[in-house]
Amino acid sequence: MPITTIECRSVWKIFGDRANEALAAIRSRGVGKGEVFEEFECVVGVHDVSFEVAEGEIFCIMGLSGSGKSTLIRHVNRLIDPTDGEVLVEGVVVNTLAPEELRELRSRKIGMVFQNMALLPHRSVRDNVALGLELRGVDKVTRIGVAESTLERVGLGGWGERFPDELSGGMKQRVGLARALAADPHILLMDEPFSALDPLIRRELQSEFMTLASQMHKTTLFITHDLDEAIRIGHRIAVMKDGALVQIGTPEDIVTNPRDAYVADFVAGISRLNLVTAHKIMESPQSYAARHGAVDEAAWPRALPDDSLNRLVDLSVGSRHPILVVSEEKVVGVVTSQSLLRGIQGNRSDGAAATAI
């Protein structure tokens, strides 16, 4: 059983002067978003959200702008107080911490990276990175040493003397990341950290971040509006809509089993090549045999159930035969080239497939 590092228990955030009345109305009468605004002039930011993030996990929250994801992430370090519900960090309820304890939590346990970097323009890169330690009262020599080595880690060794406005966007966000890592927190909160960067730099930073996160074993809550990014980075993904979490699952889960039309729409354009594995699309050897009779399987290419579609394509291209899926020396399934092509396309009902042919 993995240890829970971050936990949200039915968190609600309603913006407006009459938030509590609005919450009561939603609970008792189930009024909708529009009515809440009409009646109480309140906006629902976070709608009854519960989730857990295990230690070392990268948990992505994915949603369009205005879906409440940035509001949600700010509950974890209590930059925003919830209207109802509670947030636990390493088993401690964040909502009831005294100011002093809260600052301690923020400066020691949680590092945060912002979409628009939010560096201090009047401070050198090094002093920006050392900010968390400085606020905590760490002496100058130590914090400068830590800042330099953290800069080294994010590939900015030797840039400490520069100022933020001398850096490119990608480098600024590296500084932002270094600032979050400098205090060696257990938890990283990433609020759309790479969204403002151009695609090449974004990819580069994504991979570097993944390396860093696994090396340093950080628990990460990662906000993004980009499903590709969520799939690339996240161990699990939560899809958010109108303040509520629609679906939580692994990237493969989300792509192959979207819970509703909204999620399905989202994942429609996603390449399944590296996400979907053989066992999702194979048919049983019996059903294959029923259609084709006994066949000689000796020359057929073989794959494991966990092989990706990408790998199956490689095998299929090299052979005229279907692919045998073998697990522990036993044939568990067959993938024909037709089912492989359908698998790449995504879930289509057989009926639809038939009319298409």
Binding site: R103, S107, A118, P121, H122, L135, R179
Partner: protein, 310 residues
Amino acid sequence: MDECGLLNVFECGTLPLEVWVSDGLRWLVDNYRPFFQALKWPVDLVLRNFEWALGSVPPTLMLVIFALLAWQIAGVRLMLAVAASLLFVGFLGVWAQTMTTLSVVFTSLVLCLILGIPLGIAAARSDRFYNIARPILDGMQTIPAFVYLVPIVMLFGIGNVPGVIVTIVFALPPVIRLTNLGIRQVPTDVVEAMLAFGASDRQLLWKAQLPLAMPSIMAGINQTLMMSLSMVVIASMIAVGGLGQMVLRGIGRLDMGIATVGGLGIVLLAIVLDRLTQSIAESSRTRRGASWRQRGPIGLILRWTGSRRP
């Protein structure tokens, strides 16, 4: 038709505001004059120090000090401008008056900063406070100075110290406004980042808000200084000495010469002080470039002594 009736309601009676204010002021003077006299003490202290510092240094030496200061703050060009202006003022024969005016202006400036920056910070932090302060600040800037000249004379008397107080009433608003504005303009994401890394209110203020608000605060200081200077002539009506006094005397005697000399001195002071504070504001905005230790006369001395020691 000057009878009280529906058609001329104003004949039915008037609000005796005049009487109330006069009575109120008299009551204040009768009962609280010692309190207001005590308020003069800090003003007097600062003013006397400035008067002593500016008055006791021989003019030539003072001129050199000002020029070097200008060089340090803003570079060689401003040094030349400052030196030329002060030489001119000196040869007009109004050096002593200029120093008196300068000490009144500097005293108001210092007190405006001591009062104004904390008030500006408070205004930035509390919308309620700002909403209350705004009409008061508007009033301070728009009420003709002659209106509050009378109560100030009755409560504080005449002379340089009440002159400083009159000047403060007029010159305080910009520094409050622009400190407030500067702090409110600090990007919310920067404030959020500071809090996310565990900053306390005090750390937030000193490490992010004030430094980022600095250009705006400097603009406020510049405005306050200019407004102090513009009060010099009016303040001379309650017996403040200096250049303003000369202008006032010129008006009284229809002596265009003496008014011109005093006026010219005020204008030159204004230009020099404006350029000086603006260049401080400029360097607080750009921040980059050589630090003060590498610039101006101090930089020169440090380089010089440094190069002799291997």
